[in-house]
C-alpha cells in the first residue's frame, strides 16, 4: 500500500485550499501534478548548471551536457533500452508527428496505416495527414466491453499495411491493450509497429519488447515538467530514418547545398534542446522508481476497483470501458442520465440522448473542488463510435486515495436527478 498521506506532502499544489477546502485532483490523465523534487531539480539546474549543451569546451557547458545526457540515460534505463534510442521531443504528439513526417518517404500511394477506434487525436491526425498523399487509414473496431477486437484487427491487416500504431492504454476507456500479442501479429506482416505509451509508461511497470519499433510518451503525464516528451526508436530504425526538424546541433557538416546529419538521437533534436525538461523528467523518474512502478500500478488498481464499485451504486450513471481492473487502468469515463434534463422539445436534426452534458457534470463537481475532465478527451472518433458527445472522466495517480473517490461520488449524488 502506498502511503498517500506522505506522498501528498511532496506535492505543493495539493496543499492549496480553494474557498477554504482542499482540492480533489482527478485529472492526471490530462496532466499530473509535480512533486517538490521535480520543481527543485528544475530550479537547481538553472541555479547551477545552465548553459547550451553539446560542443561546449568550457566547464559549465559540459556540466549542462552531462545533466542532459544523464537524464537521457535515466529515461532509457527506465524502459530498458539504450541511451542512443531515446529522442527528446516536446510531447507524445510531437513524437508521433516526427514519425508521420519521417516515415512519409517510405510510403507509397495505396499503402495503408492501421490504428484503433480508441486512439487519441495525437495518434490519429498525424496519420490522417497522409491520406492527402493517397495513403489509407483503417480503424480497428472495439468489442462491446471496450477491448480491441482482435479478429477485426487481424482482418484489417493487409499486405499494404505498412504501419500499425496503437495506444497502450486508452485515455477514455482505460483499456490496456495487449501490446505483446499485437506486436507479434504486426510483425508477422512486417508492419512497422508503433505504440502510444502516453498513458501506460506513467502508470505501470514496463520493459521494452522486441516487437515495438517506436514508442512515444510525455513527461508531463508522469510527474515531469511540461514541454518534454520522448520518442523511443530501435537504433537500427533511427539510423535509417531521415530527420524531421532541421537546424542547429543535429548535423555533422553543412555546405551551401549539402548536409550530413549527426547520428541518432541527436539527428532528431534540432535546435537548442529543452535540457531543463529532460532534467525534470529524470527527477520524476527517480521519484517514481523510489515508489516502485509495481506499487503505482497496484494502488491504481485498488482505487479503480473502489471507484467502479461506488459509482455503480449511483442509479443514473453510465460507465464506459472494461470492468476487470487487471485489464484496465485508473481512468473512468461516465455520463449521468437525467430525467430533469429531458428537454420538452426535439427536432429532426437533433439527437437528444437524455444524458446530462459532461460540462454540466464537471461544473457541478467543480463547485466542491472535485476536478474532473469533460468533453471528448481528444478522442472524437471514439465518441462517434460510442454514439455520445462526450463523457466526464475521473483519473487517478499516486496522490489520490479513497477520500478522493468519496468526494467524487458524493459530488455526483448532489446532482438532482429526480
Amino acid at each position: 500500500m502506498l502511503d498517500v498521506g506522505s506522498i501528498r506532502r511532496d506535492f505543493p499544489i495539493l496543499q492549496r485550499k480553494m474557498d477554504g477546502k482542499r482540492i480533489v485532483y482527478l485529472d492526471s490523465t490530462a496532466t499530473t501534478q509535480k512533486p517538490e523534487s521535480v520543481i527543485n531539480a528544475i530550479a537547481e539546474f538553472y541555479r547551477n548548471y545552465n548553459a547550451n549543451v553539446h560542443r561546449s569546451v568550457y566547464k559549465l557547458g559540459w556540466e549542462a551536457t552531462d545533466c542532459y545526457e544523464q537524464a537521457r540515460k535515466n529515461v532509457a534505463d527506465f524502459i530498458g533500452v539504450k541511451s542512443e534510442e531515446i529522442v527528446f521531443t516536446r510531447n507524445t504528439t510531437e513524437s508521433l508527428n516526427l514519425l508521420s513526417y519521417s516515415l512519409e518517404g517510405k510510403l507509397k500511394k495505396g499503402d495503408r496505416i492501421l490504428i484503433s477506434s480508441m486512439e487519441h487525436h495525437s495518434n490519429i491526425l498525424p496519420w490522417m495527414r497522409l491520406e492527402e498523399r493517397g495513403i489509407n487509414l483503417d480503424y480497428i473496431n472495439l468489442t462491446p466491453e471496450g477491448f480491441l477486437d482482435i479478429e477485426d484487427f487481424k482482418s484489417k491487416i493487409k499486405k499494404e499495411t505498412k504501419i500499425i500504431s496503437i495506444t497502450h492504454q486508452s485515455n477514455v476507456l482505460g483499456t490496456i491493450n495487449d501490446i505483446d500479442t499485437l506486436s507479434k501479429i504486426a510483425k508477422e506482416n512486417d508492419s512497422i509497429f508503433i505504440v502510444d505509451g502516453a498513458q501506460s509508461i506513467p502508470h505501470m511497470p514496463f520493459k521494452m519488447i522486441n516487437g515495438i519499433d517506436y514508442m512515444a510518451f510525455s513527461g508531463h503525464k508522469m510527474l515531469g515538467p511540461l514541454g518534454i516528451g520522448v520518442l523511443y526508436g530501435k537504433y537500427e530504425n533511427l539510423s535509417e530514418l531521415p530527420p524531421f526538424q532541421r537546424g542547429g546541433e543535429m548535423i555533422k557538416e553543412v555546405d551551401f547545398h549539402k548536409v550530413e546529419f549527426e547520428d541518432p538521437p541527436i539527428k532528431f533534436e534540432a535546435g537548442t534542446p529543452n535540457v531543463e525538461g529532460a532534467v525534470g523528467l529524470s527527477a520524476a523518474i527517480d521519484y517514481l522508481k523510489k515508489i516502485g512502478m509495481e506499487n503505482v500500478r497496484s494502488h491504481e488498481k485498488y482505487l479503480t476497483r473502489k471507484a467502479l464499485d461506488s459509482l455503480s451504486t449511483l442509479k443514473n450513471i453510465q460507465i464506459y470501458g472494461p470492468r476487470d481492473t487487471e485489464k484496465r487502468g485508473g481512468v473512468i469515463s461516465f455520463n449521468i442520465r437525467s430525467e430533469a434534463i429531458k428537454r420538452k422539445i426535439a427536432s429532426g436534426n437533433i439527437h437528444l440522448d437524455g444524458l446530462l452534458h459532461s460540462h454540466d457534470v464537471a461544473s457541478h463537481l467543480d463547485e466542491s473542488n472535485v476536478f474532473v475532465r469533460s468533453g471528448h478527451h481528444c478522442a472524437q472518433p471514439l465518441m462517434k463510435y460510442l454514439n455520445i458527445k462526450g463523457t466526464a472522466r475521473a483519473s487517478f495517480y499516486i496522490y489520490n486515495d479513497i477520500d478522493d473517490i468519496e468526494a467524487l461520488v458524493s459530488g455526483l449524488e448532489g446532482i438532482d436527478v429526480q
Partner: protein, 125 residues
C-alpha cells in the same frame, strides 16, 4: 444543480424551433465540445424581426442561446454585433465561471461569424 430559472428555460426554451420564414441561417457553432446551434433569422432593413434556434448542447449554451434570441428580437443587427461579451456574461442568470465562458458566449460568437460571412446587409437571400 442550476437554479430553477435556468433549468426551466433549458427544458422549455421560448425561441426553439425552425420558423416558416427566415432570411439568414447561421449554422456555425460546431465547437470542440460537440455543441451545435442553428440560428434562423428573419431580417428586414437591418432589423431582426424574428430569430429562433435549433440545437443541442450543455445547459449553459442552450439557455444562453435562448436568452440571446430574446435579446436580439426587434433589435438592429449592428447593435447585436456590438454586444459586450463581459456585460453579457455579467447579466447571465447564473454565475459563469471562466471554464464555461465558451459555453455562454456560443450564440454571440456564432452570430458574429455567421453575419460576417453572410455579409449583411448586401448579401441576403
Amino acid at each position: 444543480m442550476y437554479n430553477d430559472e435556468i433549468m426551466d428555460r433549458y427544458q422549455n426554451p421560448y425561441y426553439f424551433g425552425k420558423p416558416e420564414r427566415y432570411s439568414i441561417v447561421i449554422d456555425e457553432a460546431s465547437t470542440s465540445c460537440g455543441d451545435k446551434i442553428i440560428l434562423y433569422i428573419q431580417e428586414e432593413n437591418g432589423v431582426i424581426k424574428q430569430i429562433k434556434f435549433e440545437g443541442d448542447g450543455c445547459i449553459i449554451s442552450m439557455v444562453s442561446t435562448d436568452l440571446f434570441c430574446e435579446k436580439a428580437t426587434g433589435r438592429n443587427i449592428e447593435e447585436i454585433m456590438r454586444i459586450d461579451e463581459s456585460d453579457y456574461v455579467k447579466n447571465f442568470p447564473v454565475e459563469i465561471t471562466p471554464g464555461r465562458l465558451n459555453c455562454a458566449l456560443l450564440p454571440i460568437r456564432a452570430f458574429r461569424r455567421g453575419v460576417g460571412r453572410a455579409n449583411i446587409p448586401g448579401n441576403l437571400k
